[in-house]
């Protein structure tokens, strides 16, 4: 029970606060969805704090992709693996509180100003950044397996599958799980 609440290596209060504040800041930078902040989460959680290994971090995102629900829940899995349910509280509240508050405050304003030049400059100007961040996310998630040609082939195969078919992403996820379990990637 204790492990579940605080994780197998309980975070000291100061580190919990660092986790919470980092996700709080990233929440407001998530202009193309939470997934675009993955590179910075990985930089902080893996490289700066050393809470998770590169492979564990990628595993968190992979697990959430295989589960139903909003994609943002990957932050809960990261929180859980860093510091149990206390970690989930830090990453989930950190991710949702600022963006939710802003959404509630700005919705009514944004509805009437969708055509404003400022708002359109915002979406137009940030669109290329979002794509750069998504490609960076993809590259970083491939970090633990990037040196194997089989994993590059599986990632590119997934890309083709998603572009050419209208089937559910659960199919490539199942293929990936099988290939990984058999030691091919």
């Amino acid at each position: 029970m204790h492990d579940l609440l605080l994780g197998s290596h309980p975070l000291p209060a100061s580190e919990w606060l660092a986790l919470f504040t980092h996700f709080l800041v990233l929440s407001l930078l998530a202009v193309g969805g939470a997934i675009t902040t993955v590179p910075d989460m990985q930089r902080f959680v893996v490289h700066e704090q050393g809470w998770l290994s590169d492979a564990q971090f990628t595993g968190c995102v992979a697990l959430a992709q295989a589960a139903p629900g909003p994609n943002v829940l990957f932050v809960a899995v990261i929180g859980f693996n860093v510091g149990g349910l206390a970690g989930v509280l830090a990453t989930m509240v950190g991710t949702l509180l600022p963006s939710t508050t802003l959404a509630m405050a700005a919705t009514h304003w944004a509805k009437g100003h969708q055509e404003s030049r400022w708002l359109r400059s915002f979406t137009t100007g940030l669109a290329p950044l979002t794509i750069g961040l998504l490609v960076a996310t993809s590259w970083i998630l491939l970090g633990p397996t990037r040196t194997q040609w089989t994993s590059i082939a599986l990632a590119l195969g997934t890309l083709l599958f998603m572009l050419r078919t209208r089937w559910s992403p659960l199919w490539p996820i199942a293929v990936g799980a099988l290939a990984g379990a058999l030691g091919w990637v």
Partner: protein
């Protein structure tokens, strides 16, 4: 195809709305948005398709997860700020429970080589899935008023700074974002 306003329904209660959001969230594998459109527009008839798309465009401008922003806006529309919280909780609570159960199972079984391998393989596929999202969105850049070369430069520098040099996101989004916004502002009427 405009749908008449009169044909719209509204959620019977906050509880009904909570259940509807929970149901659609649990059906959404690899993204809830397509399911949300089917459930809210076609099945429940709480919104017309143009209303749904308008809300989506607002949700995309705001930071934070688009589908969560959508839930907030829909909840707020019918039941004020309490409804917003109800809808957000509905879309997050049950899937959060499911994903945490999976996380516990993964943690308990991480010593087994097959499980660790499966998660590694799923990670490779996750990388490909996110690349496909990037690919689909990149198609829209052809219509971006800044022009394709400028977009490619902004996207490329972002990728380099974040993916290779591993600079903190704050500086990159504020710095390059300001450049992008300024360039876009000049090009837009």
């Amino acid at each position: 195809m405009p749908e008449p306003e009169a044909a719209l329904e509204r959620p019977a209660s906050q509880r009904a709305m909570f259940m509807a959001f929970t149901r659609l969230a649990l059906q959404g594998f690899g993204g809830v948005l397509p399911v949300a459109q089917r459930e809210l527009v076609e099945r429940q008839r709480w919104l017309t398709r143009p209303q749904f798309l308008e809300m989506l465009s607002v949700a995309q401008v705001l930071p934070g997860p688009n589908i969560v922003n959508m839930a907030l806006m829909i909840g707020d529309r019918f039941f004020g700020w309490r409804g917003a919280l109800t809808a957000m909780t509905g879309i997050l609570l049950a899937p959060l429970f499911v994903v945490l159960v999976l996380a516990v199972i993964a943690q308990q079984t991480q010593g087994m080589p097959g499980i660790a391998g499966a998660l590694r393989g799923m990670g490779v596929v996750a990388s490909g899935l996110i690349l496909s999202t990037a690919w689909k969105l990149a198609g829209g850049l052809r219509r971006n008023p800044m022009g394709l070369p400028t977009c490619a430069a902004l996207g490329g520098v972002t990728l380099l700074a974040i993916g290779v040099l591993r600079w903190p996101l704050v500086g990159v989004v504020l710095g390059l974002g300001a450049v992008g916004m300024a360039l876009a502002f000049r090009k837009l009427p």
